[in-house]
Amino acid sequence: MLNTISFEAIKTAVQQWLNMHWGPHLAFIAECILIGLLVIVFFAVLGLLLVFMERKVSAVMQIRLGPNRVGPKGWLQTSADTLKLMLKEGLTPDGADKFLFNLAPFLIMIAAMLIMVPIAFARNFQIWDINIGVLYISSIASISVIAILMAGWSSNNKYALLGAMRSGAQIISYELSAGVAVITMVMLTQSLSIQDIILSQQNGWWIFKGHIPAIIAFIIFMIAATAETNRAPFDLAEAESELTAGFHTEYSGMKFALFFLAEYINVFIVCAVAAILFFGGWMPFHIGNWEGFNHIMDYIPSSIWFLGKTFCLIFLIMWFRWTFPRLRIDQLLNLEWKYLLPISLANLLLMTIIVVLKWYL
C-alpha cells in the first residue's frame, strides 16, 4: 500500500514529533492550533477553487472562455477578486441594526466551520468522529437559517427581508426531505457516526448495494441539497432580477465575501455528505472478487477518492445551475411538500422493509 504519503501517515508523523519534543500538554495545544489553521486554509483554498470552478463550468456550458487574464489560464482570477473585496469599504447602512448586521457573518462562518468537524477527508483523517455525526451536521445546518434571517432582518432593506424570508422557508422545507433521505441510509448502517457509515461500505458503496430505495434517496438528497444551499434552480431567495441579491443585498466588502465563501463551503459540505452516505466517502471502488482490479484501486490514495467523489457531485450541482430555469415559490413549495416529502417517507418505509427482511448484501 502506498501509505507513506497519505494524510494518515502525515498526521501520525506530526503527532509523534510533537509528543516527542513537547510533552503531551503542549503537543495537544499545538495540535488544536494546527487543526484550526488547517481548516481555515482549507476554507480559503476551497472558496477560491470553487468560485473559479463555477465560472469555468458556466463558461464551458455557454461556449465562452471564462476568466483567462489574471495568471495562467485565469487561475489567479478569484484571488484577485478576494484582494479587491478586501480593499473595499465595509458599509453598515444607516437604518440597520448595527450589532446583528455585523454578527450575521460571524454566525454563518461558525456554522460552516463547525460542520467540518465530523467530515472524514481520508482514511483515519477526521477532526473528530462524533457518534451522532450525521445528526450533528443537520443540526448545525439548521443554525445557519438563523444567520440568514438575522442578516436579512437587520439590514432594514425590503429586498433583504423578503429574500431572507424566502430563503428561510425554503431551507427549512427542504431540510425535511434531506433528513428523511439521510435516515434512509442510516437504516442500512445503523450508526450515525461518519466513520461507521464509511466502513460499512467496505465491500461496495450503498448506492450499488442499497437497491432502489438508495437511488431514490440519493436523488431526493441531491434535490434537497441544491435547495438548501440556495442555488439555482432554487435560488429565488436571491433572484437577481427581482430581489437584487436577497438577504445579503446590503453587505459589502469583506462581509459580503464571507457570505459568498459560506455559500460555497455549504455546497462542498452537502456534496461531501452525499459522497459519504451514498458513495462510501474515501472508500475505493471495488468490484466483487476482481482481486487485481481492487488492488489497483487501493493504490489511489483515499483523499483522492473522497475529493474526487465530492467534486463530481459539486460539478453536478453546478450543472443544475446552468441548465434549469428558476422555479417560482409556489412551485418550489409544492415540489417539497406534495412530492418530495411523501415520496421520501414512503421510500423510508420501503427501505425498512428491505432491511428487516435482509434483502441486501
Binding site: L87, I172, I183, L341
Partner: protein
Amino acid sequence: MTGLYTLLQINQLNNTAENYFPIGVQIIFAIGFVATMIGLSALVGPKRKTSDKLENFSSGIASHGNARQPMAVKYFLIAILFVLFDVEVIFFYPYAVNFKFLGWAGFWEIVLFVVLFLIGFIYIIKKGALQWED
C-alpha cells in the same frame, strides 16, 4: 482527560463529553478568522462614509417607510408544519439506529406513527394550507 491529548486520533473515548472539545476550538478559530478578515479589510479599505452611501439600497429610488413590514401568514404555516415534521423526522433517528433490535414490532409502531402523520398531512393538503396563491 486522556482523550483530549489525542485529538486527531479518532474513536477513542468516543462517547464522552470531553470529545466535544474540538467544537469549542473550532468556534474560537471561526470567530478569529472572521474578525481578522473584517478587521483587515476595515484597516486597508477606504473609510469615506456619506449619507447617500449609507442609505438602504432600493434600486435607485428613495425607499418608502420601514422595511420591516408584516409578512404573509403563509410563512408562519410553513414554519409550524416544519416544526411538527421535523420532530417526526427526529423520532426516526433512534428508530433507525435500533430497528434491527426492535424487529417487526418496532416496524408496526413506526408505521402507526407515520400513518397518523399522513392523516394530518392529507388534511393539510385537502385544506389547501400549502397553496401559495389563493
